[in-house]
Symmetry: D2
Subunit: 136 residues, 4 copies
C-alpha cells in the first residue's frame, strides 16, 4: 500500500482516533514514518504523554510498515509488543520510525523508534511482531 492508501485506510479504520489527519508520512515496505498529533487530553500527571498513547503509536507505525510491505491485509494482528520508555516526552507532536527486521510468510518483526518532532533524543523504543494470516 502507498502512503495515500494507508492514510485513507487508517481514517476509515480508526475514525475519531489517530487515523485522522494523515499520520503516515512515509512507507516503502522497509521503513515507515508515522506522526502523532499532540493532544492535551493525553497528558499524564507530571505533564508527560501517556504510555498507552506511545504504545498505540508504535503499534500503528509497525502496522503501516507491514501493510506497505504485503498490501491491504487488515487482519494482520500484533502478537507481541515490547516497549522501553526512555525519556519523558515533551508536550509536542511525536514521530515514530519503524524499520523491518524480518518479513517472513507468517510473522513480521520490526523495531520502532519514537522521538519528539524536531528532536534527536529517543523518547521510546519498541519491538513489534505482527502475525500475517495465511492467504489463499
Amino acid at each position: 500500500m502507498t502512503v495515500e492508501e494507508l492514510n485513507s485506510f487508517f481514517k476509515e479504520a480508526f475514525p475519531g482516533g489517530d487515523g485522522e489527519g494523515c499520520p503516515v508520512r512515509f512507507a516503502d515496505g522497509r521503513r515507515a514514518v508515522v506522526a502523532h498529533r499532540f493532544a492535551a487530553s493525553q497528558l499524564r500527571p507530571g505533564g508527560t504523554i501517556s504510555g498507552p498513547t506511545m504504545m498505540g503509536l508504535a503499534d500503528m507505525a509497525m502496522y503501516a510498515l507491514v501493510l506497505s510491505a504485503i498490501g491491504k491485509v487488515p487482519l494482520a494482528v500484533t502478537t507481541n509488543l515490547s516497549i522501553n520508555f526512555l525519556r519523558k516526552p515533551e508536550p509536542a507532536d511525536l514521530v515514530a520510525e519503524a524499520r523491518m527486521l524480518k518479513l517472513g510468510k507468517a510473522l513480521a518483526v520490526g523495531d520502532v523508534t519514537i522521538r519528539s518532532e524536531g528532536s534527536e533524543a529517543i523518547v521510546a523504543h519498541a519491538v513489534v511482531t505482527y502475525s500475517i494470516p495465511r492467504r489463499p
Copy 2:
C-alpha cells in the same frame, strides 16, 4: 493505598477514561485485579478489542498494584512493558490480574494476565516494570 483510594485517585487522574467506574476490584501490594468495561468504540477490524486498550489495561493494573504497595506516588512511571496477545478477546469486559514479581527500592516488576470476564482462557499476558522515584 486501598481499593477505595485507588478508585478515587484513578477517577481524578484519568477523567473520562478507564478511571471512571471503579475499575480496581482488589489490591493488597502483592496482587491487584482491575476491570475494563467493554466499549464498542474500542473494537478493531475483525471484531476484536484493540491492542492499545489491552496495553493500557495491563499498565493500569500494574500501576494499581504498585500504588497499593508503596502508597500514593503518582510519579511512578512505566519503564518497560512487554505484552503477548494470545487469543482474540470476546467483545466483553476484560479482567486483568497483576502479580508482583519484585518490589525493590527503585524498580517494581510484575506480570499481568488478562482474561475476558468469566472465562479462564488467557487473552493477553504482559510483564511491566515501573520506576519508583526516590523519596526524600
Copy 3:
C-alpha cells in the same frame, strides 16, 4: 513426551551440558519443572550465576514443556525470549518452572519462573515463545 523421555532426549541432544543429570523433574504439557545444577565455573564477578546460564535454563524449561505437550518435535525453535533478572541468585542449584500460557498450532507461549532450590524468592522471570514446525 514423558519426564523419562525428555531426560533421555536432552542427554543425547546436549551432551556435556545441561542435558546431563536428568534435569527435567516434571512435565505434563501444562507445566514443567527443570533444575540446573550449580557449577562454580558459571559464576560471574560478584559471585552471581551468569545471565546466559539463566537464559539457557529458561529456554530449556520451555522446550521441555513444549515437547511434553506436542511430542518429540526437535525442530521446535525459540522465536522470542524476554527475561527480567530480579535478584542476585545464591551460588546454589536453580529450579525453573514453566507454565503454558497458550499452545497454538504454530506458536507456544509460556512463562518461566526461576528460583534458587529451596527458596521462594524469584531470581528471574522469562516469557518464551516457541515456533512449532508444521507437521505433515
Copy 4:
C-alpha cells in the same frame, strides 16, 4: 574503557569462554561491535547456533558498550534482555552491533543486532537493559 582494555578485561573475567580471542572490535560509548567465533560444539539439532550462544553474545556486546561509556564498573548487571530470533544462523562467526538508546545514571538501554560475519541479513535482534550501581 578502550577496545584494548575491554579485551583484556573480558579475557580475565571470562576465562575459557567468549572472553578469549579479543572479541571486541569497536566501542566508543555509543556503539560497540563484538564478534563470536564459531565453535561446532555450540550447534543445536538442525545445524543452527544455539539460542543461549546468541543471548550471551547480545549480553556481552551491551556490556562492552556500557563499559566503554562509563568506565570499568564490573558490577553493572543486566536487568532485562529481550531477544527475537529471526533467521537460522549459518554455522559461521557471528558479529553483534550494540547501539546505545539511553545512557542514564541508573540504567542503560541499548539494542543489539546480530548477523553472520559478512552477511547483511539479521539473525537476531535484542534489547538489553543494564543497571548501573551508584558510585560514591
